[in-house]
Amino acid sequence: MVRFENVGLRYGLGPEVLRDVNFHLKKGSFHFLTGPSGAGKTSLLRLMFLSLKPSRGNARIFGADIAAISPSKLPKMRRKIGVVFQDFRLLDHLTTFENVALPLRVQKQRPASYRDDVMELIEWVGLGARADSYPPVLSGGEKQRAAIARAVISKPDMLLADEPTGNVDSALGERLLRLFIELNKVGTTVVLATHDLELLNQYSAPRLQLKGGELNVTG
């Protein structure tokens, strides 16, 4: 599903943030991505959700070379990937409901067809009462949960979550982890970047460990 071979990444003329990264994610696998702050976790995820091109090496996703995907094919591929951003990236002018429904809306699905699914998911992450609120009035944890709901609403083939439990307490974190595990069980490939030791200890899955720009796969 995802295969990186000797991938390197640098921003502009800066130093290499990622160096000789090699790994392979099989369809339906579950991985943690860890590493100290500034190690390049977000950068690695950005490569995988096609918002960045590698400076060198061969990075393939769904069988296609990331560096060579034509712009016209990007939307189709991105629809297969759900992303939880570290900084949420909710749209401030849309309600929670509309934010969560966004991936379906840009696919031009009819609102009537997804309304109930969206509301159900919103209830599940505990935002039922906040469906018509705008992001600026949500608490940190509420925003994070809305971002997670948006990432999973279209049942993507691959889910990339960047620090998805940084703003919630451990009980809620556990609940959200279970959501990811459920998704994984029905076939979604999951990559979960986190510093949260508690979370790491709750589920045993192979870890991609970044340090000094290099990646080690353990477990």
Binding site: K53, R89, H93, L102, V106, P111
Partner: protein, 314 residues
Amino acid sequence: MQARAPKPAKSRYKGRIFSQILPDTGLSGRALTASMSIMCYLACLALGTLIIVSKSVNLWSSNIASEVTVQIRPANGSEMQAAIDKALEVLKATPGVTATTVLDKSDAAELLEPWLGSAKVLEELPIPRLISVEIDPDNPPDYDQLANSISVEVPGGSLDTHRQWQAQITRTAGTFTLSSYGILLLVSIAAVALVIFATRAAMEANRDTIQVLHLAGAENSFIAFQVQRHFLKMGARAGIIGMIGGLASFAALGFATKSDQAGDLAQVGRQLLYGPLAFSPENYALLTIVPLVATLISVTTARLAVVSMLRRVL
């Protein structure tokens, strides 16, 4: 730091209200509409001037072209009536002349009154006589030849074709027409520039939103459509505001013109500016072209700008 509560434009869809995907805020706000409206207003004024000038010039030109004058000065040793008869004879034989009217002595005297005082005095003067000649404008006679025959065959006779006068009008009207076209061009360029800037700025202001849309799998055409729709509304709104302003101005001018007294210079100026015709309903209708063009400029410019910008992001 009070929490902001965005109130975006809404459209109701089967019970649930949906917000616009791109907010109406950003640079493309009221200031843009206002300045776009001003340009549309200017375009209306320019277009109106163009219509009035071209109509007036047509009317005047055809009036002037369809009438020339034969002047017969009292010459030594010739009988005035004989000269007039001779002139009429020549005119009747000329193809393209449709009618002739010999002006009374008093008509001619009237024309001289400003210079020579009351008509009583003039009656005793051997003043020239005038023949007004109507011409078929579609099939005018050869003026040079006609002038020649009249001066040769009619003692003291000469032909006045008002050509200098006509050239003056044409030149003056040409200046107005050219300025109007210039203003129309300038305004259009300014409008295009404004929309390009505005589109860029709106994209810039909504940069994060557009990124999120992209990452959610939105196609460029989908995003471009959202932006475009916005500029469609803006262009139409500004065009209509500008047009209403323009119509109001012309109506006001027409009103002001009617209430003014008649008078030489003012009348000449007014004739030229506002035409011998009232600014008629058809002309008002012609001004509706302004919002249409404004909308078109706005939408196509925004579309091109947006597509070229989207191409440059991954």
